[in-house]
């Protein structure tokens, strides 16, 4: 849509980014009389090269170059154990660099022009204004397949209570999470000061209501907040192949956290299958070394859910709990290790 390339002329006099002229960042030929000649050697996304913004925003550019949003290394880390050393090398060359890595966010992708997803984009966020944040036009695009619509309720469940209270992504995921803190993390799990419910909800076990206090005290260290407070089904993706993509349907899964087998949490099916990368000629000889389900911080939190209203939801009905029968077909052998055999609550306690 042409409006995606329309610059707000009111910005020109006020915004210092315009002082050096468009071609300073975008190259091209500002004296070209026609579109084609003006766009010769045009750089569409100048901030893909961090040195562009880094000319003025040196410190941010330096730290951002190590951040997960830029490196996207977490995607590689999440799957690499499935490969032999030779397969990993092939994966890096043929898949990660060409496919996964294409999703990395440039400075402009968050601050100037909404990132295109599947070739479709919104264009300039606010007429080429360099915005500090606009989650609905940035985070929502890249994370619009799963987290964002689950958070807003568009996926079908009720909205997350934090969304209803007016909180958006940056209210929990701080600037340092996005820009990085100078450390090179290989996974979001390792990021220092990443969001945690207890950052705000710190007085667990001190509630006035007895049943709440008991529930929090008894489950502390055994069940994550999401285990009880995730309110609805969220997107589960299946059977992903490099050339054909994947399918998806709603589901709610509880099982042991693959990263911490002592804790029960919400799980999400990650759609890597045994021949996901067959199209690139890359096999996964150690496919069974990792499960197909990973812990997910379901972004559809509510105070009251089926599981907070009644202990029976889990302890008797076992609703949503992963079982041998519900495991994904032809999945990893490691999946069975995530099944938790929940015990009924003894009557006398």
């Amino acid at each position: 849509m042409y409006k995606g390339y329309l610059v707000d002329k009111n910005l020109v006099a006020k915004d210092p980014h315009f002082a050096m002229g468009c071609t300073f960042c975008h190259k091209g030929n500002e004296n070209g009389g026609a579109k084609e000649s003006a766009h010769k050697d045009l750089v569409k996304r100048p901030s893909d090269n961090l040195k562009t913004c880094g000319m003025c925003h040196r410190q941010i550019a330096d730290t951002y170059g190590k951040s997960l949003h830029y490196t996207t290394i977490g995607q590689r880390q999440g799957v690499m154990k499935r490969f032999s050393p030779t397969e990993l090398k092939q994966f890096d060359e043929k898949v990660f660099q060409q496919s996964c890595r294409s999703c990395h966010a440039s400075c402009g992708g968050c601050h100037v022009k909404a990132p295109p997803v599947g070739g479709i984009g919104l264009g300039l966020i606010q007429g080429h204004k360099f915005v500090k944040k606009d989650e609905g036009k940035t985070c929502a695009f890249c994370h619009g397949g799963r987290v964002y619509p689950e958070y807003t309720g568009e996926y079908g469940g009720k909205p997350d209570v934090h969304y209803q209270k007016g909180m958006l992504c940056m209210d929990c995921h701080k600037k340092s999470d996005m820009h990085g803190d100078g450390s090179t993390y290989l996974s979001k799990q390792d990021v220092k000061d990443r969001p945690a419910c207890t950052n705000c909800h710190s007085k667990l076990g001190q509630e006035a209501k007895l049943t709440t206090r008991a529930a929090h005290t008894r489950h502390k260290g055994k069940v994550t907040c999401y285990g009880c407070h995730a309110s609805a089904e969220y997107r589960q993706c299946y059977n992903c192949h490099l050339d054909t993509g994947s399918t998806a349907k709603p589901g709610f899964l509880l099982g042991l956290n693959p990263r911490d087998r002592k804790t029960l949490t919400t799980l999400r099916l990650i759609p890597t299958v045994r021949d996901s990368f067959k199209h690139a000629g890359v096999a996964m000889s150690n496919f069974d070394s990792l499960p197909n389900y990973w812990d997910t911080p379901a972004h559809n939190i509510r105070k009251r859910t089926d599981r907070t209203r009644s202990c029976d939801a889990c302890h008797t009905d076992k609703t949503g709990l992963l079982t041998r029968e519900t495991l994904v077909e032809k999945g990893s052998k490691a999946n069975e290790g995530l099944i938790y055999n929940i015990k009924p609550i003894p009557i006398n306690k």
Binding site: V7, V12, A13, A19, G21, K35
Partner: protein, 57 residues
């Protein structure tokens, strides 16, 4: 004398007009001649081509 006075009178105004930040910016930003015009951008933009059967109800 009259012409000289007129010129002296108009000089500051001419100076402001020629060397204001927006004028300078426009001079450096010929790209914006098109990119700030809704009508021009609409004219220049080519929507992606549709397949033969796409768009049919």
């Amino acid at each position: 004398m009259g012409n000289k006075s007129l010129l002296l009178f108009l000089a500051p105004a001419l100076f402001s007009l020629l060397y204001s930040s927006s004028t300078i910016a426009a001079g450096k930003n010929n790209c914006l001649v098109c990119h700030t015009s809704d009508a021009t951008m609409k004219l220049l933009y080519k929507p992606p081509a549709m397949g033969v059967s796409e768009g049919e109800g």
